[in-house]
């Protein structure tokens, strides 16, 4: 059983940044990945972002490139170990915590939850039946299949807008179908959507059903669009938010809010001593890679202080 000062659950950008800083502070650090619901590669959810333009130091690069840089940075420290293992339990012990994965178990003085979120799935008739047959969650992955086709995009967030903009590079027409009055991306992306001739926003509308033969060819809306509730299209992408992955933390007695996000203070401390949370799983209102990275570094510092500022390290 390996002994560590700082175990990080989640190998996304937040967890990797925390590992880098933990090592700088002399903490023997283990990152256990594969905690994302969709089992994304090390690097986490940013790997599914086409272009990142809001990370200082890089004017524009792909999410995958940025994730690889952050991972490389973390791995450059000898005190950092990264294992792609799914964690199944975290328990409090006399000396600290015992973390069990599918493969092994580990002891640590402190624990950081950087477990992030997973995509919320569309739960309507046809959505499971046609998954990957016209119903898709990763525009970056599957968008190229819709060259010169007509696609829909369900959602109204910044991620939804970015997905629609990406899809417009392939498809001849993209409908953003949003349940609210007005989509709410960052102004820079809202402007891009409004200027894009291939994208049409259909507000105040829900998709009720997805229909097709072998593949999707129609969706049924709850309101009329150009006189009909039927909208003919070849594919529908989904960007309707995320589900917080805080189950393991809750089982440890960590307090969460009504959304399931872990409640933390400014130093990323939870209500359980020695336990921290950072990134998308924590209760911050503004969630970007840059904020997650900052929280991860703060968590490493809090863990360092809790252990005794370098006095009782492994």
């Amino acid at each position: 059983m390996g002994k560590y000062d700082f175990i990080i659950i989640g190998a996304g950008g937040t967890g990797l940044a925390a590992a880098m800083y933990g090592a700088r502070l002399g903490l023997k650090t283990l990152v256990l990945g594969k905690s994302h619901g969709t089992e994304l590669p090390v690097g986490g959810v940013i790997t599914t972002t086409h272009l990142v333009e809001n990370y200082p130091g890089f004017i524009k690069l792909s999410g995958m490139e940025l994730a690889e840089k952050i991972e490389k940075h973390a791995r450059s420290y000898e005190l950092v170990t990264i294992k792609e293992e799914k964690v199944i339990s975290v328990k409090k012990t006399k000396e600290g915590f015992e973390i069990k994965s599918e493969n092994d178990s580990y002891k640590s003085k402190t624990v950081l939850f950087a477990t992030g979120t997973k995509w919320r799935k569309l739960d309507i008739p046809g959505s499971n039946e046609f998954e990957n047959k016209g119903v898709h969650y990763c525009a970056l992955c599957d968008g190229p299949f819709f060259k010169n086709k007509i696609v829909g995009l369900v959602g109204g967030s910044d991620s939804a807008a970015k997905d629609a903009l990406l899809l417009s590079e392939y498809a001849k027409k993209v409908y953003i179908i949003y349940r609210g009055d007005k989509i709410h991306p960052e102004p820079i992306n809202l402007n891009r959507v409004e200027q894009n001739k291939k994208i049409e926003v259909v507000n105040n509308t829900n998709v009720l059903e997805i229909k097709g033969d072998k593949f999707v060819n129609e969706v049924i809306l709850d309101g009329d669009y150009e006189g009909s509730k039927s909208l003919k299209l070849d594919g529908i992408f989904v960007a309707i938010g995320h589900i917080v992955l805080s189950k393991l933390a809750k089982e440890l007695g960590v307090k969460t809010n009504e959304k399931g996000e872990i409640i933390v203070d400014r130093m990323t401390r939870t209500n359980v001593k020695g336990v921290y949370a950072a990134g998308d799983v924590a209760d911050g209102e503004f969630k970007q890679l840059i904020t997650g990275v900052a929280e991860g570094c703060t968590a490493a510092y809090s863990a360092y202080e809790y252990i005794g500022s370098g006095k009782n390290l492994n």
Partner: protein, 76 residues
Amino acid sequence: MVVKVYSTPTCPWCHKVKDFLKENKIKFEDIDVSSNQKAGQEMVEKSGQMGVPVIDVDGKIIVGFNEGKLKESLGI
């Protein structure tokens, strides 16, 4: 053994599959379906769906990055 990976350049799971194959020293043909529509159609016909990655191991089709199924098919 003939291994083909149908992928798109930006798909993170595709990278993961290819990294896995490289780590295990398995030779494979990397087929970019974003630039090769004919290959994309072939992938859809073989797998009955449009999600990448799709891995063809001697005619056996695996959809997505599934380490267990990959190991089983590759005999590693």
